[in-house]
Subunit: 404 residues, 2 copies
């Protein structure tokens, strides 16, 4: 019995990697003054399918269902839309509202390397500020996260929906959002397929050629991005960011700068400004900008680069009992260690000493203590370093200090 | 626009409470040598609805849906079933396998105080040990978690499915699982309704009276629980646990001891032994025991008892700029503080100094620094403690030490 297609179970070694990444990312978010929120995994279908939300492509990929009262629901496809719903529904929230969300999202895509139907995301968004300073801050956060994780080879690309819209309008294209959704898939499906899709959307061949020239063109000075580039300088990260007309982002809700971070050939993060989404949910017009880190892909990429150097065992010390009568004593010692904050384990299987050591080795537990009648009597225990084989005879309190 | 009925958004203050509880619980789990796993939020319907899994009542409460390929799926109603599926599918996992899961589960119940359709759970389960020592350990973990959270007034009740089954069989009752599911609802819906439901299930009036006498009876010495009571003594928690025939637990998968923890009139945790579930998923017969903490209810109960004493602000320090020209300098300082691990914020709104202080007060940020031309020139900054009003003139490095 396997997990549903496109989803994964994370066993302890994988889960420790995920937890490590999440802990670093969360600590960076907090340092920047962002506050945690959590929303349900499913939303009313009206919210997910609203105009100016994710858009048609995403709607097609959304897990849709009805509850027992025929309420139409869907699993969230991102963490941006639920947060925007909250901001729209509660005007009492002080601005700027800088929030982070860490959780899963779901998209019914064709599973392939790096693409899962269930994946972890970590988002920061800033509501209430229209200043480019806020855009620069969320980019700085993403950059700090990746650097702190040790991922050095990533690139951040920047574009602006207003610039592209202006250029697309000049070409006389009347369905810019559809065109954006097509162009967004350039890296994923290649130029040929994108051109075919554009044709299907009714864009004429001459215009398609011009669009391709546009996305390949070397960006000139752009008025719309001047302010943001200045703020990126203030944050000291202007050199990390490159303007690229070929990077569009697929979501309908973007209204200004958009950014995307790639590593190992995949987008591991992306975001942008979406100043009209809160209105779309019935809220007061509220400027908004955010960035999302694709945590599942970041874990994969770090794994590929062997960047994980974390403890991967269930307990620091295993307290062995030489025979069944000694288990009672082992429990006392193990409980004493645990109460001192040391992760400790003992035999739950009724195994003999040799089998207990087999388990210690299988689980790579770094220290072992052996409890027998002589040790109990002397109140001294042998602490064995399983790696070096070195042993020390210690009283319980000294052992706690040694292991702590 | 609200979250779907029966679910909740957690805003920062609530989320910090949840995160605090989860961090304590997770640290206890780790100390006991349990390892993290994660599973998808949805499972194949076959898994959730398998014989010996949650049972009929739970199936009725499960969010069911089909994906775009007509695959039948359901949102998990607990964290036990997905973990059992993993253990069943991967016989290479070394035993004992002591795992924890922290995540959400979903049940379509009538929402009321303490009952949500989406809720957080934290589970420990031990696979591979048939010894009562493992049962005692998971009870000890739950007790440690609640004590460490400061929840003193909770009670742990213990029963054994084998004992109740034996007694129920003696009464000549032929549908014990159905009867258990009814009896489990005693505290929730009251004796009268339970008796009505038992009647509907075909249990005769005389037998119902005897069942009621049984669940109210003072437990005698019980052979089946003798071993567990001894192990509870070894763990030093025998006084915390009381045998109660009226506590049944509703899940079909239990096969031996069952336990439940209540506080403030609600079950905040529960578990037991389920030695046949792994087999039901096609795995090798594997003894299993676990306990689940109802995190959402624990947070509610702690809130009611005012047990939270945690930091509830977005940043420790806010770096104010006296005018727009100073923002550039404020960014540098704020980035320096953040790089030193201090949570710090600055103005993203283009506000004047007085408005910046309004925000500091609204968000209860404990320290403020004011940056103006004189401060930049002197390289000394005034650090204001917002609570006491005390101010200190400090260089940047000293300030970092002071705040760190």
């Amino acid at each position: 019995m396997q997990p549903p297609k496109g989803t994964r179970d994370l066993l302890p070694s994988d889960m420790r990697k995920l937890n490590y990444v999440l802990s670093i990312v969360e600590s960076v978010f907090k340092r920047y003054g962002y506050e945690p929120i959590d929303t349900p995994v499913f939303e009313d279908w009206d919210v997910l399918s609203a105009k100016n939300a994710g858009g048609e492509e995403l709607k097609k990929e959304t897990y849709y269902f009805k509850d027992k009262s025929d309420r139409e629901l869907g699993l969230r496809y991102d963490l941006t839309v639920p947060a925007a719903r909250i901001v729209a529904s509660d005007p009492s929230i002080a601005k700027p509202f800088k929030r982070y969300s860490i959780g899963k999202a779901w998209r019914y895509e064709q599973p392939q390397a790096g693409r899962y139907r269930e994946f972890w995301q970590a988002d920061v968004d800033c509501y209430g500020s229209e200043l480019a300073r806020a855009d620069a801050e969320v980019i700085a956060i993403a950059s700090d996260c990746l650097r702190e994780l040790g991922l050095k080879e990533f690139r951040i690309r920047l574009n602006d929906r207003r610039v592209i819209e202006r250029k697309v309008n000049k070409l006389g294209i009347t369905n810019p959002l559809e065109v954006f959704r097509c162009l967004d898939k350039l890296e994923k499906i290649g130029e040929e397929t994108v051109c075919k899709e554009l044709k299907e959307k009714g864009v004429e061949t001459g215009k398609i050629e011009k669009l391709m020239a546009l996305v390949r063109s070397k960006p000139e000075e752009i008025d719309e991005l001047e302010g943001l580039v200045k703020e990126l300088k203030n944050f000291g990260i202007e050199k990390e960011v490159a303007i690229d007309f070929g990077m569009i982002r697929g979501f309908d809700y973007y209204t200004g700068p958009v950014f995307e971070i790639t590593a190992g050939g995949l987008a591991i993060g992306g975001g942008g400004r979406y100043d009209r989404l809160i209105e779309a949910y019935g809220g007061k017009p509220t400027p908004a900008v955010g960035i999302s880190l694709g945590i599942s892909r970041i874990v994969d990429e770090m794994d590929k680069k062997k960047l994980f150097d974390i403890e991967d065992y269930p307990a620091k010390v295993f307290v062995c009992s030489v025979n069944v009568d000694m288990v009672k004593e082992a429990v006392k010692i193990v409980q004493r260690l645990r109460k001192s904050g040391i992760s400790a384990d003992f035999d739950l299987m009724g195994r003999n000493l040799s089998k207990q050591f087999d388990y210690i080795n299988a689980k790579k537990i770094p220290f072992a203590v052996v409890v027998g009648p002589a040790e109990i009597k002397a109140k001294k225990f042998v602490l064995r370093d399983m790696k070096t084989g070195k042993e020390k005879k210690l009283g319980l309190e000294t052992m706690i200090k040694e292991l702590g």
